[in-house]
């Protein structure tokens, strides 16, 4: 099973980060750096909470021989999942034409912290693609703040590769994200 993800970072404005870091809007010196730090901070935040924060387009790909499966569950450990389409091919190899399944032939079962896809009837095939989107519909302000704090930490502290022993870490990033951690139980 392989999940390929494409992320959109458009919900975060560089101007907002610059305001947080007290960098003047007209000062374009750090724009490129801040964009890269922002992507890193989002990745770190997503790893911390084990979920997709920004709008994400995903493809779950299964290439093993699948035959006569009726109730196979594909657990997708992400909240806010919307399945856009499911495609299947019956021939051998990836060059075969994929057929899009009728949405009435499968059901999306949402659980507290994950999503299952349950098929109604017997299907067989060699390759299965589940196309879905994930990510918070509206990014919570505290998640945003945590990401901005991480950008600031990387920009002002981490890129120097040096900190004074006297400075203690506030752990604000972890504290702000802890209510959103996606744990399976």
């Amino acid at each position: 099973m392989l999940i390929t993800k494409t992320k959109s970072y458009d919900q975060f404005a560089i101007s907002e980060i610059k305001e947080d870091l007290n960098i003047d809007e007209s000062d374009l010196t750090y724009n490129g750096q801040l964009k890269r730090y922002l992507r890193s901070a989002i990745d770190i935040a997503e790893q911390t909470i084990q979920d997709d924060i920004v709008p994400t387009t995903c493809i779950l790909e299964e290439n093993s021989y699948l035959t006569n499966f009726v109730y196979i569950n594909y657990p997708i450990y992400s909240t806010n999942v919307k399945v856009t389409s499911i495609q299947i091919s019956t021939g051998f190899g990836s060059g075969n034409t994929l057929t899009t399944l009728d949405p009435s032939t499968y059901a999306i079962e949402k659980f507290n912290n994950y999503t299952n896809i349950r098929f109604k009837g017997s299907i067989s095939g060699t390759r299965l693609l589940i196309n879905y989107t994930s990510g918070f519909p509206i990014i919570f302000e505290s998640v945003k703040r945590a990401i901005f704090l991480k950008v600031g930490e990387m920009f002002d502290v981490d890129r120097n590769g040096y900190t004074s022993n006297l400075v203690q870490k506030s752990n604000a990033f972890e504290r702000m994200l802890s209510p959103y951690v996606n744990s399976l139980y």
Binding site: N22, D24, R159, N160
Partner: protein, 106 residues
């Protein structure tokens, strides 16, 4: 820590002297803002005297900011609407920060 973001509250405008010519060939000197940086005001150092008789006092202020390459010649800093000369520039070792000392024009 290089710069405590919450303390970078003072707005400094870095200005460069640009010389152009009028249609009559006169030199026109204008100060143009090239960059705006936010800094922390260090202890205000008070007056700096240009001679031994306590004459010609200049206001002397020191600022701490993220690493910024300041030039001492041909540039000035506009702070709270008042132009300042760049008196001294120090880079904080391994900390990516700059301390800049400014004095008022006589």
């Amino acid at each position: 820590m290089a710069a405590q973001t919450a303390r970078l509250t003072e707005r400094l405008e870095l200005q460069e002297l640009v010389v152009s010519g009028s249609s009559y060939g006169e030199a026109i000197e204008t100060w143009q803002t090239t960059r705006i940086v936010y800094a922390t005001q260090q202890a205000q150092k008070g007056k700096l005297y240009s001679n031994n008789y306590d004459q010609f006092a200049m206001d002397y202020i020191s600022f701490y900011c993220r690493y910024t390459p300041f030039l001492r010649k041909g540039t000035r800093v506009l702070y709270k609407g008042e132009p300042y000369k760049i008196h001294n520039v120090n880079t904080v070792t391994r900390n990516q920060a700059t301390i800049i000392d400014l004095i008022t024009y006589l």
